[in-house]
């Protein structure tokens, strides 16, 4: 319990002092995870919606695999992306291993299945209600998928937050493809892992508290915006 109190106190101290290294680490974390969340949504939302409203062979198998990929371990993704981007690997000539770009790629791969699987379920449920009316209005299946994504935007905010949360909280993928290089690829989660392994538990806790507070603030902000918009649009 003492360690947590220590951590909380240190967290306050770090934030109040505006420690530049901390600011850099926080900004990098947000940059990487928010970018991955954006890409994950750009790919995952239309993918999930399309699977929900179209018919194709092995459709149910695809849904099962997509749902299973939600549990993809982050270290596995990190390892696979590392093998791809390593100089010895197929994309080695891109030279992006141990950069934030590689971290964004790994996190995007990690969270896209979650976003796709959850949006697939939401759109499929809504499709039951909307199907006849949308087809009556002459909407194609793909057009209907996009219309439903827009109509379900409030529920989808939660899906997007789930994707971002998974990205911001994971350490396995960014550790392997980023290398936790000080000042270059060190993010909140890898810092916490490093300080823990150095035995500096109060500092690790402090960083953890700061990370949680930031994610909480982002979620609160999203919630408020969603509520306000919902009141306007029903």
């Amino acid at each position: 319990m003492n360690a947590i109190a220590d951590g909380a106190w240190q967290a306050y101290g770090l934030v109040a002092s505006g420690d530049t290294r901390l600011v850099g680490i926080v900004l990098l974390s947000l940059q990487v995870s928010l970018t991955a969340a954006v890409f994950g949504c750009v790919i995952g939302l239309p993918l999930g919606a399309t699977i929900a409203v179209t018919r194709f062979p092995f459709r149910r198998g695809v849904i099962v695999v997509l749902n299973a990929l939600m549990g993809l371990p982050s270290v596995v993704v990190g390892l696979l992306v590392y093998l791809l981007l390593s100089r010895a690997g197929p994309l080695g000539s891109w030279g992006i291993l141990f950069t934030p770009t590689a971290m964004v790629i790994a996190q995007t791969i990690l969270i896209t299945p979650t976003i796709a699987a959850l949006s697939q379920q939401l759109v499929a449920d809504a499709w039951q209600e909307y199907r006849e009316q949308l087809r009556s209005l002459g909407e194609s299946r793909l057009g209907a998928a996009m219309t439903l994504l827009v109509d379900l935007r409030f529920s989808l905010v939660t899906v997007m937050l789930a994707g971002f949360g998974r990205a911001a909280s994971e350490v396995g993928a960014v550790m392997i493809v980023g290398g936790n290089i000080d000042g270059v690829t060190r993010v909140m989660t890898t810092s916490i892992a490093l300080e823990t392994s150095k035995g500096d538990l109060p500092l690790a806790l402090a960083l953890g508290i700061i990370l949680l507070t930031i994610v909480l603030a982002l979620n609160a902000g999203a919630f408020v915006i969603k509520e306000a918009a919902q009141r306007r649009f029903g």
């Binding site: 209600e129 006849e132 009316q133 009556s136 209005l137 002459g138 219309t147 109509d151 306007r232 649009f233």
Partner: protein, 241 residues
């Protein structure tokens, strides 16, 4: 210059519709022409809603053919429309929902907005143009559904018990709008279980029983003197006395 082909007449030839467990529509053959308002009557489970959906293309017949006079091209605004018992509105404003129907019309945004507003005015909802569609009452949403139809000026409008969930006041308003659509040239094909409404709103009746088209006659004659025993029993059961 040739006038574009009309969708109607619609020809049904030995149309069957069966699910895994039973046959819902059996061998229906008929022709739907432009002009008279058509009402489909019949007891519960007769297959009226299914027949409507088959005509509109929401369901495909398991055998037989449903043939329009002309093809509708994909990507063009629809020349048919349907209004359901419970309207399905998008999470947008009333105006937004009506404008949605025009998205394939190939007209610029400003004109879409104007036409949508005119349609809203026609059904008496212009004051609610900016309101979220989903907070409107049942009657208002049904009127909105008709505004969405109005803005397309379709050749044919299918209606599946459009006033079954509404109170008499709202029902009256809906019937007025349907009448206006008909006057403007849209063919009406409606399913109802309300005989009074059938009398008010139709020129001819298609009577469906057990999935078969038993009788077809002008409304007055059908209601006074049905030719088939099933129709006779049906009408008797509907009378309150």
């Amino acid at each position: 210059m040739r006038a574009p082909l009309t969708l109607l007449p619609l020809a049904l030839a030995s149309v069957d519709y069966a699910t895994a467990t039973r046959r819902i529509i059996r061998g229906v053959s008929t022709r739907i022409d432009a002009g008279p308002r058509t009402v489909i009557l019949g007891p519960n489970g007769a297959g009226k809603s299914v027949l409507l959906r088959l005509c509109h293309g929401l369901l495909a017949p398991t055998s037989g053919a449903i043939t329009w006079n002309a093809e509708e091209l994909p990507g063009m605004p629809r020349r048919q429309a349907m209004v359901f018992q419970r309207p399905v509105m998008l999470r947008r404003s009333a105006l937004g929902n009506v404008m949605y129907a025009l998205r394939h019309a190939g007209i610029p945004g400003y004109e879409r907005r104007q036409r949508a507003m005119a349609a809203l005015a026609r059904v008496g909802l212009e004051a609610h143009a900016g309101s979220p569609a989903r907070v409107l009452s049942g009657g208002e949403q049904q009127r909105l559904a008709l505004a969405r139809v109005w803005v397309l000026r379709p050749e044919i409008l299918f209606l599946d018990e459009p006033t079954a969930s509404l109170d008499p006041g709202a029902t009256q308003e809906i019937e007025n709008i349907i009448g206006a659509l008909h006057a403007a040239g849209t063919k009406i094909v409606m399913v109802t279980h309300n005989l009074g409404q059938a009398r008010r709103m139709s020129d001819e009746i298609l009577f469906l029983y057990g999935g078969r088209l038993i009788e077809r006659a002008p409304t007055d004659r059908f209601l006074r003197q049905p030719a088939s025993p099933e129709a006779g029993r049906f009408l008797e059961a509907q009378m309150p006395w």
